[in-house]
């Protein structure tokens, strides 16, 4: 079995695709370019599947499913530190591989239809391939350095793709914002890696974790390392305070949003934490901090999502919120649950984005849901798949999102009841804004222009086929890990051997009995259902449409005429406070956090402006500065005691 070769092939295919399309995008015809790119990723997917099968077979044979390492070549050695270019194939990387290449190929296929009218089609496909390449490096690498390379690489591709329609300044600003925020995160990540080198003398996962198991829980150095790494994750996975780039990143083409900003890249932070689970288990304080940030992010983003009218913005905030859930799961050492949610989220969020893309495509680039409505007749496939996605994300049984979210919430319940309650609240919000989106888009009367109505059409097969695939996955993804010891948790168990060793309590068998578990499930499903119904009442029965931004938001006069007591109650008790809160939080995100980031940038620029004045062109001053420095150095060395 040439595992090494197979491992090398997986990232190689997209790279080849990138090289062909990247250098020849002027000469290669569009259809061919799309085919090349898609086939490249599909080949990776098939190879991954093959590898997966081999791994499973192997694991069954030997029953010790240790990680396979494929060392391609020795890379560098710095002093005692040897870094090899090697891939690690284990349960975690295989899962990520399948998700990245699987969802990736579907999105590539979709892009052929979606982007075919774009001038830079070849370039776009090349960038997508490059992205997949880096993403594969990220998840396959067997040490932190390779992960960092992938990490930086996906950031770069994300930057290039957000700014793909670079004629618009806003898009460039969004791209730059994404880049800056990611850089801040990367700095933390880089420092964390160097700290790991300092502490363990290696960056190889297996060695680091082996050494880490001998450390005590709560080791301060581990605390620092995990926090620094988490800063990286905050940037990449859009957690407070570094989340504002993700909604802005929706400026990029929709397939990009689906692939990078929903299904794969943003989950890199979760992947990293799961990968480093031993370190995180060793540092309960970090986990507490992550938990706090995660729930805050989940609620904040969900409440902002209630008010958005841009179809992609809603999905973007929803992504931020779901990422919060994943981290919430990780924070209570429910690593499997977190990964499970990553997988299901990849299915349904990619589905939703692609569905949204299909809608936008049909609506001639209209993104405002206030100008949509009643699309279910014109876009039947999109509607049904979008519906499935919505049900899945809302956490209604028996679709995928229900199981994964429920598992997270069950673990959280065990850990902390307040967090659980907040989580359920977030789940209610999720359900509400998703159904609101669904209803406003597909139900009611068409509110667009005549021209748009005339133009409405279902998308071509290259676009609907991925939708159908993803819809099936979203619907059935839950079977991966049914409650009470599903396949996934068995499969992933070996990954957490080290963590179990250092902190057995965190991995003790669930103490809650089945009846409680069922009640929890019922509660979360029920809450989601109720939110969905409220949304139905609000937006379908009553036909409310969010007011254009020019008029006042709350319109009590209209409501007075309304017969539904529920509505008034809802308006007074829930909608207004939440709207107020959402507005406040939105401005918090937009102004405070962006303000801080922009402020830092401004400070650097201002500092630069001041500092360059030192360079005043006068030799006299230059020499004077030199002599002064000499005086200072001599004074420092001979006359100052320190």
């Amino acid at each position: 079995m040439q595992t090494d070769l197979l491992c090398a092939l997986i990232p190689l295919f997209p790279l080849i695709g990138f090289i062909i399309n990247g250098f020849g995008f002027r000469r290669i015809p569009k259809s061919l370019a799309g085919a090349i790119a898609t086939v490249a990723v599909l080949a990776s997917f098939l190879t991954s599947c093959f590898l997966f099968g081999a791994f499973l077979g192997n694991a069954n044979l030997t029953s010790t499913a240790g990680p396979l390492k494929a060392v391609l070549f020795d890379w560098i050695s710095v002093g005692d530190l040897d870094i090899s270019f090697s891939f690690q194939i284990d349960q975690l990387s295989l899962l990520m591989l399948l998700v990245v290449t699987g969802v990736g190929s579907l999105i590539h296929l979709y892009s052929i239809g979606y982007m075919k009218h774009d001038e830079g089609f070849g370039k776009f496909m090349a960038f997508l391939n490059l992205f997949v390449f880096f993403m594969l490096l990220l998840v396959m690498g067997s040490n932190y350095v390779i992960m960092f390379i992938g990490w930086e690489g996906v950031g770069l591709c994300s930057y290039l793709l957000i700014g793909f329609w670079n004629t618009n300044t806003n898009y460039n600003n969004a791209a730059r914002k994404a880049f800056v925020m990611n850089r801040i995160g990367d700095l933390g990540f880089l420092l964390g890696i160097f700290w790991i080198i300092n502490l363990f003398g290696t960056t190889e996962y297996t060695d680091v974790f082996k050494q880490a198991t001998s450390l005590a829980i709560g080791d301060p150095e581990i605390l620092a390392i995990t926090l620094l790494l988490f800063v990286g994750a905050m940037g990449k996975s859009a957690q407070i305070p570094l989340y504002t780039w993700l909604p802005d990143a929706m400026a990029g083409p929709t397939p990009v949003s689906a692939l990078i900003h929903a299904a794969t890249m943003v989950t890199a932070g979760i992947y990293m934490v799961v990968r480093s689970n031993v370190l995180y288990t060793l540092s309960p304080l970090t986990l507490e901090i992550i938990g706090g940030i995660a729930i805050a992010t989940a609620l904040l983003a969900a409440s902002i999502g209630l008010l958005q009218n841009d179809i992609k913005k809603v999905l973007a905030y929803s992504t931020v919120s779901q990422l919060g859930y994943m981290f919430l799961g990780l924070s209570v050492t429910a690593y499997t649950a977190g990964m499970f949610h990553v997988i299901t989220h990849a299915f349904f969020k990619a589905l939703l984005f692609l569905g949204a893309g299909s809608v936008i495509h049909a609506m001639s680039d209209e993104q405002d849901i206030r100008n949509m409505g009643g699309l279910r007749k014109s876009l039947p496939v999109t509607f049904i798949t979008f519906l499935i996605g919505t049900i899945a994300i809302s956490g209604l049984p028996p679709f995928a999102g229900f199981f994964s979210k429920d598992e997270i919430l069950a673990h959280v319940f065990e850990h902390n009841k307040v967090l659980w309650a907040l989580g359920v609240l977030g789940s209610a919000l999720t359900s509400f804004y998703m159904f609101r989106l669904l209803f406003l888009t597909f139900f009611g009367e068409f509110r667009g222009t005549e021209e748009q109505r005339h133009h409405l059409h279902e998308s071509p097969a290259t676009m609907t086929a991925p939708l159908v695939f993803l819809a099936i996955l979203s619907a059935a993804g839950g079977v991966l890990n049914l409650p009470g010891g599903g396949w996934l948790s068995d499969f992933m168990a070996p990954l957490f051997e080290g963590s179990r060793q250092v902190n057995p309590e965190a991995f003790a068998e669930s103490t809650i009995d089945h009846s409680t578990e069922y009640i929890l499930m019922a509660v979360s499903a029920g809450v989601a259902l109720i939110s969905g119904i409220i949304a139905y009442v609000m937006y379908v029965s009553r036909g409310a449409v969010p007011a254009p931004e020019t008029t006042e938001r709350s319109m009590p006069e209209q409501v007075v005429y309304n017969k539904y007591y529920v509505d008034e109650f809802y308006e007074a008790i829930i909608v207004r406070p939440i709207r107020g809160l959402g507005d406040a939080l939105y401005s918090f995100g937009e102004f405070i956090i962006d303000g801080v980031v922009n402020g830092v940038a401004w400070l650097v620029r201002a500092g630069s402006n001041q500092l360059r004045l030192l360079q005043n062109g006068s030799i006299g001053f230059y020499v004077f500065a030199m002599v002064l420095s000499i005086v200072a150095i001599i004074a420092l060395r001979f006359f100052v005691r320190f």
């Binding site: 006299g620 004077f624 002599v627 000499i630 005086v631």
Partner: protein, 184 residues
């Protein structure tokens, strides 16, 4: 202080010559930097070189004393003088530096001097002293220097010619008048 004076009184004629030369060198050095007229500066610098050559002779470095006069005072300073005359720089049109910058310069320079001197006079400075037993008074003679220069230091000596080539080519290249350049 009195110890210093006592020492001072015991000096021989050479000792007094040292002081005279030292003071003259410093004074003419100050003149170099303060003179308004560039030509005075050049002359003062030449005076400094002569004082320093005197020091070299006192220190038994006769060869370098001669070279100093020939190369520095003879060649380099003439080159300076030539340039000054050539550019006709006798006029007093410079010196617009404010007194503030001058003050700052003098203060910083003075500070540097005070600090360095304090360091060099400190007990722990461990300034080397001469060793009467192994002292070789022929150190600075031509014969001695020549044999070292052409044995141990042959490589830098030869490569210094590269430096001169660069300087020569460069000076010609930069100084040459191109067609269309001004005459002087």
């Amino acid at each position: 202080m009195s110890e210093f004076l006592n020492q001072f009184k015991q000096l021989t004629a050479t000792g007094y010559l040292f002081w005279v030369l030292a003071i003259l060198a410093l004074l003419s050095a100050v003149w170099v930097v303060t003179a308004r007229n560039p030509i005075h500066s050049v002359l003062a610098l030449i005076a400094t070189f002569f004082c320093l050559s005197g020091h070299y002779i006192l220190l038994n470095a006769q060869f370098l004393a001669a070279v100093n006069i020939i190369v520095y005072a003879g060649a380099i300073m003439v080159l300076f003088l030539f340039t000054i005359m050539f550019l006709n720089l006798r006029r007093e049109d410079e010196e617009s530096k404010t007194n503030l910058t001058k003050m700052a310069a003098v203060v910083v320079g003075g500070l540097l001097m005070v600090m360095l001197i304090t360091i060099f006079r400190a007990k722990s400075a461990q300034v080397p002293t001469f060793n009467p037993v192994s002292f070789d008074s022929r150190t600075g003679l031509v014969e001695n220097l020549g044999s070292i220069l052409y044995s141990d230091y042959i490589l830098p000596f030869e490569l210094a010619s590269v430096l001169f080539l660069v300087a020569m080519v460069g000076a010609v290249m930069l100084g040459k008048r191109e067609a269309g350049d001004r005459h002087f």
